[in-house]
């Protein structure tokens, strides 16, 4: 497990040595700030609920940018070779990278705490709903990161990894939106697979075990698949 820490440390410092970390944090702050002010202006409600609904869209675009280089770059430059011939397991590498990307994701959403301070200043927000929203936001981040990691594992090109990752996340978002308010087994399956419905519950201030299980199990499954993909070079 100490190797997970070593990998994590390298990945995090590598994020901040390249422009990626600064770019995603800046872009996210600009857009989330815009949606926050616009929604606040329209609804005049001291809640994050409406602005967070739009945030998922920005996150779908920015998270693959965080994850695109994780494995694609190692595959391309060949650094995967010294990495995998060091005494570390495939899981150590994948999980270390996952945690580093997840940490950057959390750093990226951290500035939104300012909006809470602002809300507290102008009104009296429901802190329970806000805490639930953040739990949801962090869990959803884990899922997004693991999807991005999966895409990054199967390609050597970062741009391809980012584009496919964005498309995959948007599909997950869209199938959730499309099923909204519709009945029938087909739509309930879509609703379950899509991220929107699960996310919506959190923004209402409900931490439902079903949604937590959805995010955690989906993320775990994807990490498991990535480990298998990394391992697959051994039997390919």
């Amino acid at each position: 497990m100490t190797s997970v820490g070593t990998i994590f440390q390298r990945e995090i410092s590598s994020y901040f040595l390249s422009p990626i970390a600064y770019v995603v944090v800046a872009v996210f702050t600009v857009f989330s700030g815009y949606f926050f002010s616009v929604m606040l202006g329209i609804t005049q409600e001291s809640t994050l609920r409406y602005s967070l609904a739009y945030t998922q869209f920005i996150l779908s675009i920015l998270t693959p940018v965080i994850t695109m280089r994780l494995l694609a770059e190692e595959n391309k430059t060949g650094t995967i070779e010294p990495l995998m011939t060091a005494p570390v397991t495939d899981f150590d590498v994948v999980f270390g990278k996952f945690l580093a990307a997840w940490a950057l994701y959390n750093i990226m959403i951290a500035p939104t705490a300012l909006y809470i301070i602002f809300l507290a200043w102008v009104g009296s927000p429901d802190y329970g709903a806000i805490i639930a929203s953040y739990i949801g936001l962090i869990l959803m981040g884990g899922l997004f990161i693991s999807i991005g990691l999966l895409v990054s594992a199967v390609t050597k090109n970062q741009i391809v990894a980012a584009v496919i990752g964005i498309v995959a996340l948007l599909i997950l978002l869209v199938i959730g939106l499309a099923s909204y308010g519709n009945e029938g087994w087909f739509y309930s399956v879509l609703r379950y697979i899509g991220t929107y419905d699960h996310w919506d519950t959190f923004t209402k201030g409900i931490v439902d075990t079903r949604d937590v299980v959805y995010y955690v199990s989906f993320t775990a499954l994807l990490i498991f698949i990535v480990v298998r993909i990394v391992e697959s070079r051994r039997w390919r």
Partner: protein, 317 residues
């Protein structure tokens, strides 16, 4: 230290490594020699647990590369071809990351990294960003990384490729120095390198071992005949006849130029006729101005072996 037994790696229906077996003894420097695409890198990747073999077994210091891969990896230092490094990191940072990854205890880490930096002569760039380094320095950073956990075995894939002559010399000297403490398996397609560094050579072509011996034995073995070239003052006709009558001599070519005679004496394989030739010429009142045994270089052996194979294949096709 390294034991390879009927190791094979198949890609689709082509064998990149075709059932090879060899051993590397402790403290030995073994050279893996072969043209590009002969299977050198694949063999090394199997030994370093990067990819598994299709069949056959390999053990490194007693551990099986497939079942005990973590223990194998703890005992080897591997320098991949082209030395992939993280360009955004600083040299020292990178070595410290690698030392941590290789589970070097915290207390030893600093001194060990210092030693490696000194040994590989990268002290003057230790705080530089790897992406800005020249090829020669990158190579040496890679070498420092392979040494950092003080492994018993070093596996170096074309350690001098792409360097300028001075850098090649430096890297070779370094490898030779390392050979005193470590067991080394290195691959190359540069022949003088093998002659200079390796105690033993394996020539590999199309995934098969075509020759395995010490560089000098290999040269002796491959000598097609035993050729001696002479420059002699004296009666050419008489000496020629006398030389032809020496036991074991197959052919004598005589050429007269000015007052001197050039001879080319070919003897049977494995026979040393030099002393007989000397006494024979002296008996016939000749004066030897030059006597030289035409030696075959590793380059010629390599060419012979690898193209021989080619001809045979053409015939069977």
């Amino acid at each position: 230290m390294i034991k390879v037994d009927h190791l094979a790696k198949r890609y689709a229906d082509v064998y990149a490594v075709d059932h090879i077996s060899f051993e590397v003894e402790q403290g030995e420097i073994l050279g893996l020699l072969g043209p590009n695409g002969a299977g050198k890198t694949t063999t090394m990747r199997i030994l370093t647990c990067y990819m598994p073999a299709t069949s056959g077994t390999a053990t490194v210091s007693g551990y099986d590369v497939f079942r005990d891969s973590i223990n194998v990896r703890k005992n080897i230092g591997y320098l991949p071809e082209n030395v992939p490094l993280y360009p955004e990191m600083r040299v020292k940072e990178y070595l410290s990351f690698r030392a941590k990854l290789k589970k070097l205890p915290y207390r030893e880490r600093k001194t060990r990294i210092g030693e490696c930096i000194e040994k590989c002569r990268i002290a003057d760039v230790q705080n530089q960003i790897i992406g800005t380094l020249s090829k020669g320095y990158r190579q040496r950073v890679g070498l420092a990384d392979t040494l950092v956990h003080d492994p018993k075995i070093l596996i170096l894939d074309e350690p001098t490729i792409g360097l300028d002559p001075n850098q090649i010399r430096q890297v070779r000297l370094l490898i030779k120095e390392l050979g005193e403490k470590h067991t080394i398996l290195l691959s190359t397609h540069i022949l003088p390198e093998v002659e200079m560094l390796c105690g033993r050579v394996i020539i590999i072509n199309k995934g098969k071992i075509v020759a395995m011996d010490t560089p000098s034995n290999l040269a002796a073995q491959m000598r097609s005949g035993n050729n001696i070239t002479l420059e002699v003052r004296g009666n050419g006709e008489k000496i020629k006849n006398a030389l032809s009558s020496i036991e074991g001599v197959k052919k004598v070519v005589w050429q007269e130029k000015n007052e001197l005679n050039d001879f080319n004496v070919e003897a049977e394989r494995g026979m040393d006729i030099r002393e007989d030739v000397f006494t024979c010429i002296v008996k016939n009142n000749g004066v030897i101005r030059e006597m030289r045994q035409a030696s075959i270089t590793l380059e010629e052996i390599f060419h012979q072996i690898t193209t021989q194979e080619h001809h045979e294949q053409e015939v069977t096709v």
